[in-house]
């Protein structure tokens, strides 16, 4: 794993002002002996038995944390992950919970080896704690605990975990502060400290740590959970070594890494060299701001290496930032999901072939002391979405048909809509929390099937929404509705999953204080290969709706904004201290998942089924998909053909019907593009679109639309922004196939997102 831009020499990548970037070989104090003896050959039975045991040690490590912690964050939010690493901090197993935490633990171990092995030293029975986002955490609330495992005086391997904490101090309870100007407004950063020394928890260090929190007992309990997890894992690893010998166990660890690497490289070999790009937009650096910021992710594949770069990303601003640790973890989580699903997520195999080139001082590689506590909700999550898209663009070029089934559009809830509520609850006690409903997210449209409505995220495999009754039990609110939003999923040949909307009124309290932190309120996440973008996130406050009185008069409950009277206010994606009175309705919907491929290429039967099931409305079926249904809900084939022809005529003047000849040795590079020799061709009609050496988009027929055209849930961006954005279509100039869509500011050049030639042009 190489991670430094060569140009920036003279910078100290030591985790203080700049993020820590390990330079191999690590600089470890010579007094610390690392165990490296590895058995050359291991019989396949022993291998399988030890592999299975190590996986289960990591599972038990996770269960132990959940057990001791008892925290809902851990059990329901899965906001933690246990792992097993080798003596140098490279991953063996990483648990099946939040994937973006992966770079943090490894980075924390490597930093500790480099900067703590001499003073205070790393010894048997020690454990180190850190929450420093420049060293080994995604943000300050994610606390990493790592423990060396010693065998006969040598450091054999590491176990570690990360667990999100309720509160670690700072100006805002719970740690997210939408008005933070720098890291000093937030919970403090703790570089790795030896909190357990030779098996004993140091009381002085523990209190230094818990003292900062508004909930010190809970933090102390979670610390014990993290310690207990590491303890169990460490003891079981020692039992394994005792039984099979250190060299054999180490051999299995190496083989796991090597096998995963082999699988990964084998996949890379099916893909041509090239560069793929994606851009995401994030609004408002603070509540008074009305600008958008650019998050750019470039993936270059060269031979068996993947190089990720944030080139073109805007400078760090307000609360939008994440550190490089978070950025790397975000990327790695989609590499695992899309390329290591059959390798038990052994991410080390991929890390050996990944380089991260990040320009410091940007929103994805912030330098100290930028505010970074909101990273997981904002830039980190958006980077996961972008990573999924650039990886998908790359995989679409693979000659491996199976691998191409992993190609997917933009995930749902590509930034987390934080809606924090606080006040006095229905039992008279103070409370503060944020709503977990948006973990319902939505899965993206794939190259072969639709996304899953409210189907969660691809990097958290078991995201679980709270029940409405859970939230009404805990907080003084009464939900009016919580339902999926028809038409919200990005349109496409395969559509994105629909998102959902909820609405509540205060119940049993005088008022609720709200704050928000998110993005994608004005600008949605992108679609893929002609698929439409996601919907947008929206916070709405309807003042003076007086639902309880009106419902009692009419006998009917409202189930949508259209049923409410009152004054409508759209809250910005960073809002602080907004008061909701008992007569006001708070409505929140989150961004759906993006679509894949040209919507008017969608099988009309699928549209009919969607309409029957209430996932798509008749109107949207016509407008987005060009599908007309009969009164019985069946496809009207004649009218559909007619409508789709007309839509194509609006795209290009005289669309030619497809005359594509199959059987040539053309290679797919996107849903609508294929490659032969030095040219890109349209996959629908065979038209030669552009030379390989140029941006194909410049040779497409281009049309611009207001962004509201992309999805019927998108508001006029001027609601939130002074900056302008537009929704661009790129068509095959001959048949009118929608090859790619893009969202950009008017002055931006079309993004060269699929570039299969050497060098940047």
């Amino acid at each position: 794993m190489v991670t430094h831009p060569e140009a920036m020499t003279g910078i100290r990548w030591d985790g203080r002002q700049y993020p820590y970037i390990p330079q191999e070989p690590l600089c470890v104090d010579p007094g610390l002996k690392l165990h490296t003896e590895t058995a050359e050959s291991i019989d396949p039975i022993t291998y399988e038995v030890i592999r299975h045991a190590m996986w289960n040690i990591n599972v038990e490590h996770g269960h132990t944390i959940m057990k001791v912690s008892g925290s809902p964050i851990c059990a329901y939010g899965h906001d933690f992950n246990p792992c097993l690493l080798d003596e140098r901090g490279n991953f063996i197993f990483f648990g099946p919970f939040l994937q973006y935490l992966s770079s943090a633990t490894s980075s924390a171990v490597k930093w500790t080896l480099e900067y703590r092995s001499g003073n205070p030293g790393i010894e048997d029975g020690d454990m180190f704690l850190t929450n420093d986002p420049w060293i080994g955490a995604t943000h300050q609330l994610d606390v990493t605990l790592i423990a060396p495992v010693f065998w006969q005086g040598e450091l054999f391997c590491w176990v570690g975990n990360t667990l999100h904490q309720w509160d670690l101090g700072g100006t805002s309870p719970g740690g997210f502060n939408p008005v933070a100007q720098d890291v000093y407004w937030e919970a403090g950063c703790i570089p790795p400290i030896k909190i357990v020394e030779r098996g004993r928890l140091r009381k002085d260090i523990e209190e230094e740590y818990t003292r900062r929190s508004r909930m010190p007992e809970l933090v102390a309990l979670d610390l014990r959970a993290e310690i207990a997890g590491c303890y169990v894992a460490r003891e079981r690893i020692k039992q394994l070594i005792d039984r099979y010998g250190a060299a054999i166990v180490k051999g299995v660890m190496r083989k796991l890494q090597d096998d995963s690497e082999r699988a990964f490289v084998r996949r890379l070999h099916t893909i041509p060299d090239g560069t793929w790009r994606e851009v995401g937009w994030i609004e408002l650096a603070h509540p008074e701001d009305r600008r958008i910021y650019r998050n750019c992710l470039t993936l270059t594949k060269r031979g068996d290496r993947l190089i990720f770069s944030n080139q073109g990303t805007d400078s760090q601003a307000g609360t939008l930032n994440s550190t490089m640790i978070a950025w790397k973890g975000a990327i790695a989580s989609m590499v695992s999901a899309q390329m290591l699903f059959d390798q038990m997520f052994v991410v080390e195999g991929a890390y050996r072939h990944m380089e991260f080139v990040a320009e410091p001082g940007t929103i994805t590689c912030a330098t100290f002391p930028a505010a970074v506590s909101a990273a997981p909700a904002l830039t980190l999550l958006q980077t996961i979405a972008l990573a999924g898209l650039v990886i998908s663009k790359m995989l679409a070029c693979s000659s491996d048909e199976q691998l191409r089934t992993e190609v997917q559009s933009c995930m749902g809830a590509p930034m987390y809509p934080i809606a924090a509520i606080s006040g006095i609850n229905q039992r008279g006690a103070p409370y503060t929390s944020f709503l977990l409903d948006p973990v319902g997210a939505a899965l993206a449209g794939l190259a072969w099937r639709d996304g899953v409505d409210t189907g969660g995220w691809p990097w958290d495999l078991q995201s679980t929404m709270p029940n409405v009754e859970d939230n009404e039990w805990f907080y003084p609110i009464l939900y009016l509705w919580r339902r999926e939003l028809p038409d919200s999923g990005g349109a496409g040949k395969f559509r994105g999953g629909n998102a959902a909307e909820l609405a509540f009124i205060p119940h049993g309290t005088d008022q609720i204080t709200l704050f928000t932190a998110t993005g994608h309120c004005a600008v949605p996440g992108p679609g893929l290969f002609g698929g439409y973008p996601t919907s947008t996130t929206r916070y709405t406050l309807v003042r003076g709706a007086c639902v309880s009185q009106r419902a009692r008069t009419s006998g009917q409950l409202p189930i949508g904004l259209q049923h409410l009277e009152g004054r409508v206010e759209y809250l910005p994606p960073k809002a602080f201290g907004v008061i909701q009175h008992p007569d006001d309705v708070f409505i929140m919907s989150w961004a759906s998942a993006g679509g894949y491929g040209d919507p008017i290429e969608r099988d009309p039967e699928r549209v009919a089924v969607d309409v029957r099931q209430g996932n798509v409305t008749q109107q949207w079926a016509r407008r987005a998909y060009g599908v007309v249904l009969t009164e019985e809900g069946e496809v009207d084939w004649t009218k559909t053909k007619h409508l789709r022809d007309r839509m194509r005529r609006q795209r290009v003047d005289k669309p030619n019907s497809p005359a594509r000849v199959d059987g040539t040795n053309k290679q797919m590079v996107a849903e609508g593009l294929e490659l032969m020799g030095e040219y890109f061709y349209c996959r629908r009609c065979g038209h030669r679109i552009s030379p390989l050496s140029e941006n194909y988009k410049l040779h497409c027929r281009q049309k611009k639309f207001p962004i509201q055209e992309a999805n019927r849930y998108i508001l006029d961006p001027r609601t939130y922004l002074d900056d302008e954005v537009e929704f661009r279509h790129f068509y095959c100039p001959r048949c009118g196939l929608l090859i790619q869509t893009e969202i950009a500011r008017p002055a931006d050049d079309p993004l060269w997102d699929i570039q299969l030639v050497e060098g940047d042009k």
Partner: protein, 694 residues
């Protein structure tokens, strides 16, 4: 002389077991009849009657108790062949069942499938959106009516569903379990408008917060209701005609039986009752043998099930996931992995290592040695190759095994790995046994139990061959392979030993210090309902056993644990004891120092388990033939010796009680083959159990 009959329907066979008042047992097996399971039911009974020299009506008219385990309900759910069902729910919340709390896309998936996110999807809806009707009404968390039921909307919803010809209607409102008036009102409207439609109200099934799991339970109950009630009524009708007059009792997943009349309304509770019979059989036997801590394992052809009896009580769980639907239901805590005799042994092409399962050759075509067309090696084939199984005397000679085919299949894995065929077979069994041991570990260590304090029971066809290995891995001292030939109908035996069990619970929030008067009132109400029901079930008062529990937790924490509560009128001192017991139990489960006492304690659920204890005659020790049990020797591979040994073979049916058999040895039983590993000692006990000391 009267009889207790139990009939258990499995995938392949319908088993029947009859116990007379002297404790004599008759067993019968008949093929299951999926087109109409009741046929197999009566065939099995008739066969038992014939063996006893009786006619079917003679048997039934002298039967004191007729108990039954059925898979009709779960089959309908798994095959999605249930009734056309409509749902009436709170306006604005009809999507809860479709959203599935989002986790429905991956709930219950084994790890290999969990990690493959591009394959995640929600199951097809039990009730499509077009049959989900929303009605204006609203009750809040306190049970207070925020908006009264809009009867006009309710009427219209029912009419629309009836126009769609639904066969069943599920009614589930937000907080309907706290205040059921609206659910009841809608049910009455349905009964008036369409008396033949099957109706379930959520609050009648489940009294817990969580609208998704409660609504899913209600939807499933309706989905399987018409089919199940039809089946049960048909069987009950015919048993009555044949002379059986007493209540017809059906097995539930909770491990107790309930009357047919009740199951007709609550068929949901039979889902997952399949493995429950086995665990209840183990529970019964544990009582006889005086074992308080038992790990009950069932090694079948495709799956390995584990349940736990701790301090004399089977562990329970309150939630279950079937077909990615998660719903509330009291059930025995039984976990299962895809590992068994039929598990396929294969090579991972990338790492060139050996893997076992989770794919299984099942019963058909079955292992390669069955000679029915499967050419890939399975654990059973490995057992044959190692010499554990006698090809000519497998399952009492019921099936002749093809050793050559087993070797052939095993070679397809051994050759590419450059291993000997025996070495590969030994390795494969070892991998499978480690997987099984890991599940045992999860079921004990992760529940705060020390496996070394447990006895392992092993039933199911492949249990005898592998139990000693996985038990030893956990440090257990004793393995029991139960009851000789009775083990062939183990699940039916378990059903026969079950009590009537009703679970009454209510969600109540009590915050410590607890209001003892309120708790007394709640228990009193639940217990009077329980007594009433058990009397209706024809249980005499002296056989009614009521156990009280509360589910407690620390505030801000998620772990709820069940704490027993003493009977009678509770006092403040009992409340203090309750808090102390909770902290103590919590720390035993979750570790020293894990009790977050600063947060305060609360009670969330109050529960009464109401048992009607059955009067069951004790089992008789089997009659033993006074013949030589030693039948010869054969070459068997032992990994303890790293090679073959000429090994003594015994006919288990001829073993006299208390005969000691030192390992290595093989004991062939009609149902299973017992592998007595080197350095272990086996013996037959007085009841016909085979006990191995590790």
């Amino acid at each position: 002389m009267d009889f207790i009959c139990a009939v258990d329907i499995g995938g392949t066979f319908t088993d029947c077991i009859v116990r007379d008042s002297a404790g004599h047992i008759t067993l019968a097996k008949s093929p299951s009849t999926p087109d109409d399971f009741s046929e197999g039911f009566f065939n099995a009974l008739a066969q038992a009657a014939t063996q006893m020299g009786l006619t079917l009506d003679e048997l039934l008219s002298r039967t004191r108790l007729l108990l039954h385990g059925t898979t009709v309900g779960i089959n309908a759910l798994l095959e999605l062949k249930g009734a056309k069902t409509g749902l009436i729910t709170t306006r604005g919340h009809g999507d809860a069942l479709l959203i599935m709390r989002s986790v429905g896309r991956s709930a219950g998936l084994p790890i290999e499938r969990l990690l493959h996110v591009s394959r995640h999807r929600k199951p097809s809806p039990l009730i499509p959106r077009s049959l989900i009707k929303e009605v204006s009404e609203r009750i809040d968390w306190r049970g207070e009516i925020f908006l009264p039921l809009n009867r006009q909307e309710a009427r219209q919803a029912i009419e629309e569903l009836l126009a769609e010809n639904v066969e069943a209607i599920a009614i589930s409102f937000l907080w309907g379990f706290v205040n059921p008036v609206h659910e009841i009102a809608v049910r009455e409207m349905v009964s008036q408008m369409a008396p033949d439609v099957y109706v379930t109200c959520a609050h009648e099934l489940i009294a817990k917060p969580g609208e998704y799991e409660r609504t899913a339970a209600t939807a499933i109950n309706c989905f399987i209701g018409p089919q199940m009630s039809g089946y049960i009524q048909r069987v009950q009708q015919r048993t009555r005609t044949l002379g059986y007059k007493r209540p017809f009792l059906i097995m539930q997943a909770s491990g107790g039986v309930a009357t047919a009349d009740e199951i007709i309304h609550k068929p949901l509770f039979t889902i997952g009752s399949g493995p429950a019979g086995g665990l209840i059989g183990a529970h019964y036997l544990a009582g006889v043998l005086g074992h308080t801590n038992v790990i009950a394992t069932d090694v079948g052809g495709t799956s390995f099930d584990v349940g736990i009896i701790s301090q004399g009580r089977p562990l329970m769980a309150s939630e279950t996931t079937v077909n990615q639907y998660t719903f509330f239901m009291p059930r025995l805590d039984i976990e299962s992995i895809g590992s068994g005799g039929g598990s396929i042994i294969w090579i991972d092409p990338l790492s060139q290592t050996m893997k076992v399962g989770p794919e299984s050759a099942g019963a058909d075509p079955g292992p390669a040695c069955y000679g029915r067309g499967n050419l890939r090696p399975t654990i059973t084939d490995a057992d044959v190759v190692l010499g554990y199984y006698n090809p000519n005397n497998f399952l009492g000679g019921a099936l002749r095994l093809d050793r050559e085919a087993a070797l052939q299949a095993m070679r397809t894995v051994a050759d590419p790995l450059r291993m000997g065929v025996v070495e590969a077979a030994a390795g494969a069994t070892q991998i499978a046994e480690f997987q099984m041991a890991e599940l045992l570990r999860q079921m004990t260590v992760q529940r705060g139990l020390d496996p070394r304090e447990f006895v392992v029971y092993a039933y199911g066809g492949a249990g005898g061959a592998h139990a000693a290995a996985y038990a030893r891995e956990l440090g257990c001292q004793t393995v029991v392979i139960p009851l000789g030939s009775i083990a062939s109908t183990w699940s039916a035996f378990g059903i026969q030993s079950a009590d009537i069990l009703h679970v009454y619970e209510t969600s109540e929030l009590l915050i410590a210090p607890f209001d003892v008067e309120r708790l007394n009132r709640i228990f009193c109400q639940l217990e009077s309902r329980a007594r009433e029901q058990l009397r209706e079930d024809q249980i005499p008062d002296d056989r009614i056993e009521l156990q009280r529990f509360v589910e407690m937790k620390f505030r801000l924490q998620i772990h709820r644990i069940e704490i027993p509560v003493p009977g009678g009128t509770l006092t403040d001192r009992d409340m203090e004891a309750l808090e102390a017991t909770f902290v103590q139990t919590y720390e035993a489960l979750y570790g020293q120092g894990s009790a977050f006492t600063e947060a305060g304690m609360e009670i969330g659920v109050v529960r009464v388990m109401a048992r009607g204890k059955m009067d069951i005659p004790p089992i008789n020790p089997p009659e033993r033939l006074a013949r030589e049990a030693f039948v010869g020797r054969r070459e068997v591979y032992w990994r303890e010796y790293n090679g073959h040994r000429s090994t003594a073979i015994y006919d288990g049916t001829r073993l006299q009680p208390h005969t000691i058999i030192e390992g290595p040895a093989i004991v062939e039983m009609p149902v299973t083959t017992i592998v007595v590993r080197p350095y272990t000692v086996g013996r037959m006990d007085a009841y016909g159990n085979f006990v191995i000391e590790l």
